[in-house]
């Protein structure tokens, strides 16, 4: 509950537009004499429609997603949600191909039930967790987080899940647990990118990620089972993925099957592939550029077409500095990028 006091103040109820008024806003504005203005805006939209992918083609035979029961989250002031169609049709999940639309196209057959997560290593009570049971046990909450990809684009996504720290505590980490290592499913039959270096972008599979124990136990760190109120679609990492909102998106390992608590810093897939470009920490940092592009700003993927694109400054720790900067006090973040 400590986290609530640290969160930015939610919008007071009095400032929230009632749903009925919001839904009727065009008619209300027209009544107020904004009709001509709106007509102008629509004409512009019409001319440039060909650049506005309002409704991306639905994925082929989309995998079924179940509605979840959870505590609703609050949209932090100033943030706008990325439309669900965009968040589920623009993904990096190289196990299904390196193109942004490949995961949505090639992952719908992924068998996500039953799914078990093995937790082992430096824990007093190693064991397995059944994802269906985890969901049924309740206590899920929604967290609306910024998501900043290392490729300099960003989204705002409503995740549903549990704090990773709460889940890990159930397995009783020992005092020797200094890092947490995560591993994605390795199943080349289901994941074509793991079968072919050409499709899989040359990553050494299975995909592995890692966090320091204090990062893993931080209340912002989420073990997500859903987005937009329903279970995760395969392209977003079904049925279970990591969300660390102050780090670049690639830290958010998908379709996790194993978590090991360990004493030494575990290897991570991207830093193994290109150690000069991707570090272990991968904290969002506008002051430290990727060798091949600037990280100072980002393209926000929000509502509208490509012509509504907004370029916005990137925030240190992706805007979560108040909550997490203290974890890195005294560290040279230019060296530990």
């Amino acid at each position: 509950m400590l986290i609530k006091t640290r969160r930015p103040t939610p919008i007071p109820e009095s400032q929230v537009t009632p749903e009925a008024v919001h839904g009727d806003r065009r008619r209300i504005l027209a009544g107020l004499g904004f009709g001509a203005l709106l007509a102008g805006a629509n004409a512009r939209a019409g001319l440039l429609d060909f650049l506005s992918p309002a409704a991306p083609a639905p994925a082929v035979a989309a995998a079924p997603r179940k509605p979840l029961v959870y505590d609703r989250g609050v949209i932090p002031p100033g943030l706008v949600l990325t439309p669900e169609e965009k968040a589920t049709n623009h993904n990096n999940f190289y196990e299904f191909g390196t193109g942004k639309t490949d995961p949505a196209r090639h992952s719908q057959g992924l068998r996500t039930e039953p799914w078990t997560l093995r937790v082992e290593g430096e824990v007093a009570r190693p064991g397995t967790l059944d994802v269906a049971q985890l969901i049924a046990a309740g206590g899920l909450e929604e967290r609306i987080y910024r998501m900043r990809c290392v490729e300099a684009w960003s989204m705002v996504i409503p995740w549903v899940g549990l704090e990773l720290g709460k889940v890990l505590k159930g397995f009783e980490p020992t005092s020797r647990a200094r890092f947490v290592a995560f591993e994605t499913l390795h199943d080349p039959e289901q994941m074509p990118g793991q079968k072919s270096a050409y499709l899989g972008g040359g990553i050494d599979y299975p995909y592995v990620e890692g966090l320091r124990i204090d990062e893993a136990m931080h209340p912002l760190t989420l073990l997500a089972v859903g987005i937009y109120g329903r279970t995760l679609p395969p392209q977003n990492g079904a049925p279970l993925r990591l969300v660390v909102p102050w780090k670049y998106g690639f830290k958010g390992i998908k379709s996790i099957v194993r978590i090991r608590l360990v004493e030494t810093m575990p290897p991570t897939s991207w830093s193994r592939l290109a150690p000069d470009e991707y570090g272990f920490y991968a904290n969002v940092n506008p002051a430290v550029d990727h060798p091949r592009w600037s990280q100072a700003s980002e393209r926000f993927i929000g509502p509208g077409g490509v012509l509504d694109v907004r370029r916005q400054p990137t925030l240190p720790f992706n805007g979560y500095g108040d909550e997490v900067a203290s974890l890195y006090a005294g560290m040279n973040l230019r060296r530990h990028f």
């Binding site: 429609d49 650049l51 992918p53 589920t88 684009w153 270096a197 290109a274 091949r292 993927i301 370029r311």
Partner: protein, 202 residues
Amino acid sequence: MAGAGRLALVRGLQVAAHLGAFLPLAWLVVAVPRGALGGDPVEELIHYLGMGALRLLLLTLLVSPLAKGLGVGPLLRLRRPLGLWCFVWGCLHFATWLGLDLVFAWGLIGAELVERTYILLGFTALVILAALAVTSLPALVRRLGRRWKSLHRLIYPAVLLVCVHFWWSVKSGWIEPAIYLAIALALLWWRRGALWPPGMKG
């Protein structure tokens, strides 16, 4: 008879070159709104346009070996449309990066052009292509005479610049850029006689 048949073939190929370069652009008009390039098509658009430009550049370089190998001189007429379309695709590739990715943040654009080697390489190639496109106007071709030929040899460094630009731009996976670089090198190898005339050999 054979001559007329060959001319008709080349005419047909010219039409095919124009259609082949234009129709994929027209396809975008239909495909982007239907989400064929994904929920956020900017990155895919840039990649699509860049790959199109590279393929057209390689096709342009393929014309001479084909014309000589097959002994069909009129095939050389394909070079100009292919080269010009390559320039059009390259311009659209650059304009998409400028306008839709960086959203005309001029400070950032200037810094990225100077600081990122792969962007500088691509931009240099585009400047070369612009010079070649302008000097392919028939009047200028005649006026430049011999110098036209030496100027247009700049397409050789340009194709290498583009291949390296592609290689350095990908986040991972070297196989595809390596294939394109190998094709470019093969096309240049075929011209080694012209690039290093026998008299210039050490």
